[in-house]
């Protein structure tokens, strides 16, 4: 049961939208070959599934290549300032709980200049669907290291290699108490579409990281494990309630040893029963946090939904307090309010 079910049922009967309805009249201006095209396409394809009329959908972005996405969506859109999209989304959602609000951001926008807002919008469980394009580089400013750039990366701003340890976006989202945390890949279109749909149906803060290739400034950042030929051996597709198995031959898995995960070969005395079973609904985020730290080449890179739990949203709590105040005190009487305190009359 998702919170959108009620609305979907009601709207689905009357609204039959297609991807085309969500394509705006603006010419797309990302570099040819950019991973952003695929993310845009999957986003547009996913939109009709929610049963929301398009005027009720708002895309809010920050600054960076990702920030241009709202211009290409034929919905309401707001291209804001660097790092601050979650703050506008918070205010909009507080004022207008009826809207579906998406936040489009990048690794620099969300984790560098806007880190504080990601933290606080997630802990408040603001009902926004945040999609973070992670290309591990500053693209729009032409190639400086980002907070997710690997240690030692040589860029225009770090000719001897960056000395800043990178952050893991999903670890941050989990630490910030996000109620939905997921990862997908720009080129894995079906998986990306499914993941975005899951995010859209979540009620509360949804943090989705999309591993995205910048073919100009950081080409092939994820090729080692995302390429078609190797991805099944080097990535782990998480499925709720299923043991963690991967590999072309589905013959390897993840087992817990003490507090550490390890890769094991099935057979040779190891059976499926020994493997970790994915539980995205676990109330505590320990498993999800462990998964968020698994990375190639030590581990297959997990994708899918890491966490999906339910908690009252910010707008629900805010509205409830207002409803309660009105129920207890009645609708505010302005004349009485102005006269409150010790009023006296001069004849």
């Amino acid at each position: 049961m998702t919170a959108l079910d009620g609305l979907s049922a009601e709207n689905a009967a009357v609204i039959q939208l297609t991807r085309k309805d969500f394509v705006s009249d603006q010419e797309v201006r990302w570099c040819p070959g950019c991973g952003d095209y695929s993310i845009l396409a999957q986003t547009q394809k996913t939109m009709p599934d929610f049963g929301y009329p398009k005027e009720k959908i708002v895309f809010i972005s920050g600054i960076g290549c990702s920030g241009r996405l709202p211009y290409y969506m034929n919905t309401y859109g707001f291209h804001t300032i660097h790092g601050r999209a979650p703050t506008l989304a918070t205010g909009l959602k507080a004022a207008r709980p009826d809207l579906m609000v998406w936040v489009i951001t990048g690794d620099g926008d969300a984790l560098s200049i806007g880190g504080n807002h990601v933290l606080h919008s997630m802990r408040r469980n603001v009902d926004l669907k945040l999609v973070m394009f992670n290309n591990r580089i500053y693209g729009l400013t032409k190639g400086q290291a980002s907070p997710t750039s690997e240690m030692g990366k040589r860029t225009k701003s770090s000719p001897e290699g960056t000395i800043d340890h990178p952050v893991i976006p999903l670890s941050i989202a989990l630490a910030a108490e996000a109620t939905f945390v997921a990862r997908s890949v720009d080129t894995h279109t079906e998986h990306l579409q499914t993941t975005l749909e899951r995010a859209g149906r979540h009620r509360g803060s949804a943090f989705t990281e999309v591993l995205q290739n910048c073919n100009i400034f950081n080409d092939g950042a994820y090729r080692e494990f995302t390429d078609r030929e190797v991805r099944e051996d080097r990535m782990l597709v998480l499925q709720h309630g299923q043991p963690m198995i991967f590999g072309k031959d589905r013959d390897r898995g993840i087992r817990l040893r003490g507090l550490q995960p390890e890769v094991v070969q099935l057979g040779e005395g190891v059976s499926e029963a020994d493997l970790l079973v994915h539980d995205e609904a676990a109330p505590d985020p320990y498993l999800a946090f462990m998964l968020s730290r698994m990375w190639w080449p030590d581990f297959p890179v997990p994708v899918g939904v890491f966490r999906d739990v339910s908690r009252p949203t910010h707008d629900e709590l805010l509205t409830a307090q207002i409803d309660k105040a009105i129920a207890q005190r009645g609708e505010g009487d302005l004349a009485a309010l102005l006269r409150s305190g010790d009023a006296w009359t001069v004849e």
Binding site: E55, G91, L334, D342
Partner: protein, 620 residues
């Protein structure tokens, strides 16, 4: 008619006074703000005109008895209209040596000094930097000193209550208040009622505070110390219903009223900062009015959320002080570019940087006028008195909605915490400031403009057929699409400027108090109103051709401002900054305006302004 004798001290001389100024000073834990507030409420409810100046340190509890820990509250009450909390106190109540040392400088010779002699102990004297006890060494002989063992008398009055001696000591401010009530013939009833309301759930504290108050009153009545008590008759204020209000309270009420008048919900995003936090506190208590408040993670999130709320069709409001404006600047510019209504409250305090957080200054004018990248015009309004904060809060929203623009509302620490009787307006007299949303998709363009106000349509999400994109990138005229066209950028920059200039079409002319032409015009803005008005009244009474004009709209200026300025030989602009309005006036009107500029963290005295005007007046 004195019948005071050693055995029958119950009757005293009674003296009728026009105006009295009292300053309560003590440790920041001594409850001086509360004491002052209670006296103010009582005097206001009696019908006096009242004006107050709370003066407290930023430290919540500086070391007890230390000089930085001194907290003061000055109030003036009168039988006629008054405009300031008084240049100097007639009576200083000093609860300890540190309070005496920091405040005595303001007490004129002959002034009354009431001290808690119990606090004048060796350690306290040392902490205050006294080498000898001023009560004993004759250094106070030019004042009328009343040494009262307040702590001892108060402890005696509370005997038998199950309280620690520390708890007992915390009530001694009510003893002092009771004494002052007796001295000025004030009823204890409002304070007794307040105590019941405040401590209703803890009867022992209610009882203790009541006993302290009554003991102080009884002491005044029975002691031989005070030979006289004083009467200040009610003021003849304009007919109406009044209440006592601080600037921050009136500001919050004004915004709630604005939301009603605009028929839209109010959203307030804010981050705690002195001296603006009380607006957040007040608004968070108005949930029954549908007010949504949001204590953000920082100043930027506070304004970001307010812009988001405005985008959604609500009244998005944010509030802060100068350091917060610095952080909000980029988002203020976003609001300029996307042309959404927004009100930004700046309760100014002494800067730069953290400065003196609880002290007054008017030095953010140029910051809010110019402190953004690009040519970025924003209308600015500034209330002049605590009560006027209510009207200007509505005025800020009227402008924001009429022109689809962010508006800055400039208050300051003196207005925010100072109080005065406020005539409660009749709701029917308040303006309708509502505007409609765009709804018709036919020929809709997000950057079309109203031909008169140049406002663009407010097309809120959820409206079918009006889906569009806005953002911080330059907009093409009419369509609102992203544009790098050189001529378009020039046109849009001029349009934004012209839109703000047209705010002047709907604001009142600058009013002049005094002769329409003459020797000196004193031009002010903000909380200097009272001192300037009082100085002007005194100078006019002496026959000088002096007038006062006070700007409530600082961008744009009222249309007649240039004509007003040109009618006087001299223009004097007193400001609690180094000449910020003067810079704007000189640049705009090419007149040689003179400044009077002092930044001491305190409001001007009437006498300062008077003296400065006299320097420009012809010798007689």
């Amino acid at each position: 008619m004195s019948t005071t004798t050693a055995t029958r001290p119950q009757t005293h001389d009674e003296v009728e006074l026009d105006r009295v100024t009292i300053r309560f000073a003590g440790d920041s834990g001594d409850g001086m703000q509360l004491t002052g507030t209670q006296f103010t409420r009582t005097a206001a409810a009696f019908g006096n005109d009242v004006s107050t100046l709370p003066d407290y340190p930023a430290e919540i509890r500086a070391p007890a008895g230390s000089l930085p820990g001194v907290s003061g509250f000055q109030l003036s009450f009168a039988n006629s209209e008054i405009y300031t909390p008084g240049d100097e106190p007639d009576v200083l109540v000093a609860m300890n040596p540190a309070a005496l040392r920091t405040n005595l400088v303001d007490l004129p010779a002959g002034g009354a000094l009431i001290v808690n002699e119990d606090a004048f102990t060796g350690p306290n004297l040392t902490k205050a930097g006294y080498a000898s006890n001023p009560l004993k060494d004759g250094s106070l002989k030019s004042y009328t000193v009343f040494e009262v063992p307040i702590s001892t008398l108060n402890a005696r009055a509370l005997e038998g209550l199950e309280m620690t001696s520390k708890q007992v000591d915390l009530t001694k401010n009510f003893f002092a208040l009771g004494m002052m009530f007796w001295l000025y013939e004030r009823s204890m009833e409002p304070t007794l009622a307040w105590i019941d309301e405040k401590f209703g759930k803890r009867p022992i504290f209610a009882e203790a505070n009541k006993r302290a108050l009554k003991a102080g009153y009884a002491f005044g009545e029975t002691t031989e110390m005070f030979h006289t008590h004083y009467r200040v008759a009610p003021a003849r204020l304009a007919p109406g219903t009044y209440r006592n209000v601080t600037g921050n309270e009136a500001t919050a009420l004004g915004f709630v009223a604005a939301a009603r008048l605009a028929h839209r919900p109010l959203f307030y995003g804010s981050y705690p900062i002195t001296p603006a936090s009380d607006i957040l506190h007040a608004l968070s208590g108005y949930k029954d009015f549908g007010v949504k408040t949001f204590q953000a993670e920082d100043e930027i999130a506070a304004i970001g959320a307010a812009i988001g709320a405005s985008y959604g069709g609500a009244l998005g409001l944010t509030g802060t002080s100068g350091p917060g404006i610095a952080l909000k600047s980029e988002a203020m510019n976003l609001a300029v570019m996307v042309e959404l209504p927004l009100v930004i409250v700046d309760v100014q305090r002494a800067g730069p940087s953290t400065g003196m957080p609880t002290k007054n200054e008017q030095a953010d004018l140029l910051q809010v006028m110019f402190g953004r990248n690009g040519d970025s015009p924003i209308p600015i309004v500034a209330p002049a008195t605590p009560g006027e904060c209510f009207d200007m809060a509505i005025e800020a929203w009227r402008i924001a909605l009429r022109h689809m623009t962010p508006v800055v509302y400039l208050s300051d620490a003196f207005l925010a915490t100072g109080a005065e009787p406020w005539r409660i307006p009749d709701l029917a007299d308040l303006p309708d400031i509502s505007v409609g949303n765009a709804t018709d998709p036919n020929g809709f363009h997000p950057y079309d403009r109203d031909p008169q106000t140049l406002a663009r349509p407010w097309a809120v999400p959820g409206t079918p057929g009006l889906e569009h994109r806005i953002g911080g990138l330059e907009k093409a005229d009419i369509t609102g699409n992203v544009s790098y066209d050189p001529d378009n950028h020039h046109r849009m920059t001029m349009l934004r400027q012209e839109k703000v200039a047209r705010v002047a079409d709907s604001i009142p002319d600058l009013e002049v108090f005094g002769p329409p032409e003459g020797d000196v015009l004193i031009l002010g803005w903000g909380s200097t109103y009272g001192a300037i008005r009082s100085a002007t009244m005194r100078l006019r009474a002496e026959g000088h051709a002096v007038a006062h004009a006070h700007l409530r709209h600082l961008n744009p200026f009222p249309r007649n401002t240039g004509d007003v300025l040109a009618a006087y030989r001299h223009v004097l602009i007193p400001e609690i900054n180094l000449g910020q309005l003067r810079l704007l006036i000189r640049a705009r009107y090419l007149i040689d305006a003179q400044g009077y500029n002092r930044v001491r963290g305190k409001p001007f005295k009437i006498s300062e302004i008077e003296e400065q005007a006299l320097r420009l007046l012809p010798p007689r």
